[in-house]
């Protein structure tokens, strides 16, 4: 019975806090995914631009942020970001230490990592567009903006859905590392609960189960999105 008490929503229970932690994890991941979408689009565009400097920059970005441990990047953003904020504060006349809020640091770090993976997803999706379609658009006199909006963007989004689903799962799990900055996400909350009740096993299992709920629900969501995006292409291979 004590299990129900510690995991429940009562006075002694950690249930409410764990749910709140799961929501925090979800928030960090959503913000990170959106940030990563912006960064990823820019990097993919840089890599596809044909300009040597731009594509070298894009390649450096994807190599570094996919090749270096996520934890190290979180340290970089959290400590480095706080240093930068303090420097700006000093410049504006504020003496003393200013910290980067852990939510911002975490979402930024996970977003930067997610951007590197998303860049590759968008690049692959762009390359999957048949060349003839781009030529056809040009041939009937579409200019760049219109071609992007009517031909490129809808198809890139459709081809990218499975890849984005993978990136989302990665980001969801990377967001657990943000707990090292003290953000009260699901990981951190299970850790605090485990420490203060001495029930390590129970709370890490509970936290793990909530992560499984998040990953399997989002997996189902992405499968549905994929099916919906492909509803006009009944014969496409590898459908969900």
């Amino acid at each position: 019975m004590w299990i129900i008490e510690v995991l429940g929503f009562g006075q002694q229970g950690w249930g409410g806090l764990l749910i709140a932690g799961a929501l925090m994890t979800l928030c960090v991941t959503i913000v990170a995914l959106l940030l990563g979408a912006v960064l990823g689009t820019m990097v993919a565009w840089a890599k596809l631009s044909g300009n040597r400097v731009l594509s070298a920059l894009g390649n450096t970005y994807t190599t570094v942020f996919r090749g270096v441990p996520e934890l190290l990047i979180i340290y970089l953003i959290y400590f480095g970001g706080s240093g930068a904020v303090t420097a700006i504060g000093r410049y504006l006349g504020y003496e003393g230490f200013l910290g980067l809020p852990s939510f911002a640091a975490g979402a930024l770090a996970v977003g930067i990592i997610s951007g590197a993976y998303q860049a590759e997803v968008y690049r692959g999706a762009f390359l999957a567009i048949p060349k003839g379609e781009l030529e056809a658009a040009e041939a009937i006199g579409m200019h760049r903006g219109l071609r992007f909006r009517r031909i490129i963007a809808p198809q890139v989004l459709r081809f990218a859905i499975p890849g984005i689903g993978n990136v989302w799962q990665l980001s969801l799990k990377d967001s657990a590392l943000v707990s090292v900055t003290g953000l009260a996400d699901l990981m951190r909350t299970s850790q605090v609960a485990a420490g203060s009740t001495r029930q390590y096993f129970l709370f890490f299992i509970a936290g793990g189960c909530l992560y499984l709920v998040l990953t399997s629900l989002s997996d189902r969501l992405f499968n549905r999105a994929e099916r919906r995006a492909n509803r006009s292409m009944p014969s496409s291979l590898g459908h969900a």
Binding site: V64, P69, L72, G83, A176, L177, S190, Y200, F201, F204
Partner: protein, 232 residues
């Protein structure tokens, strides 16, 4: 740029590289063995084995490695029957816990990769082998294993790079590998950028070397697929 500081940092971090490599190789080795077992269960006809493997893969791929590592490191010691068993002298060590959880986690991912490789073995090749009388272990060793492994290699090298990065989490259970040492240096000196660049360089070089080795392996395993150079 303070080159003396960077040189010192590099030296301190390089001293931690053997620990990172030890974590990496041990967990890849044990994870690979476990993955073979899981994938065997996953493709078995027996529904109990198959569903167990499915569940294993779902749990270990669906939850973050950090929570698995904490579960092993903090959670197991909570039980008396483990603390008083012959395993406790091993499970007390953070290094063993880190390797154990890394191996358990990578086994889930690797099993799926190997299964993808198995699915790429064409039925014709298996039929051909059966028709000349190969079966059982011989069939696996001569035909299915090599072909599946070669097909799985590209995805497996991605997983291996992920594992190099995952060893960083061992620092959170007090194993002093490169990221842990880097974090300590950052909090001692507050020179985030320099320390980060040094540590990042180490990881990028490690990953580059490992990917290079995997590419070489792939090249050697697909010799028969390249056209034979014509003699002049």
């Amino acid at each position: 740029m303070d080159f003396v500081f960077i040189f010192q940092t590099m030296k301190t971090l390089l001293a931690a590289v053997p620990m990172t490599l030890a974590l990496f190789f041990l967990s890849i080795f044990f994870g690979g063995l476990l993955a073979l077992l899981i994938v065997w269960m996953r493709v078995a006809k027996n529904p109990i084995l198959r569903n167990f493997a499915k569940g294993y893969i779902f749990v270990f791929r669906g939850s973050p490695l950090l929570i698995q590592m904490f579960l092993v490191f903090y959670g197991l010691g909570q039980f008396g029957f483990i603390r008083y068993s012959f395993l406790w002298p091993f499970l007390r060590e953070p290094f063993v816990c880190a390797v154990l959880s890394l191996a358990l986690c990578t086994a889930g991912y690797t099993a799926e990769i190997f299964r993808g490789g198995l699915r790429a073995v064409s039925v014709k090749e298996i039929e051909a082998a059966r028709s000349i009388g190969m079966s059982g272990f011989l069939l696996v060793r001569r035909i299915i294993g090599p072909i599946a492994f070669r097909h799985a290699l590209p995805a497996y090298s991605t997983e291996i790079v992920m594992m190099v990065k995952s060893t960083a989490l061992a620092s959170l259970v007090t194993v002093w590998e490169v990221t842990g040492v880097a974090q300590r240096l950052i909090s001692q000196t507050y020179r985030t950028m320099e320390v980060f660049l040094c540590a990042a360089a180490i990881y990028l070089i490690l990953n580059f070397l490992i990917l290079q080795a995997m590419a070489l392996l792939e090249h050697r395993l697909s010799q028969h697929r390249r056209a034979v150079p014509r003699l002049p």
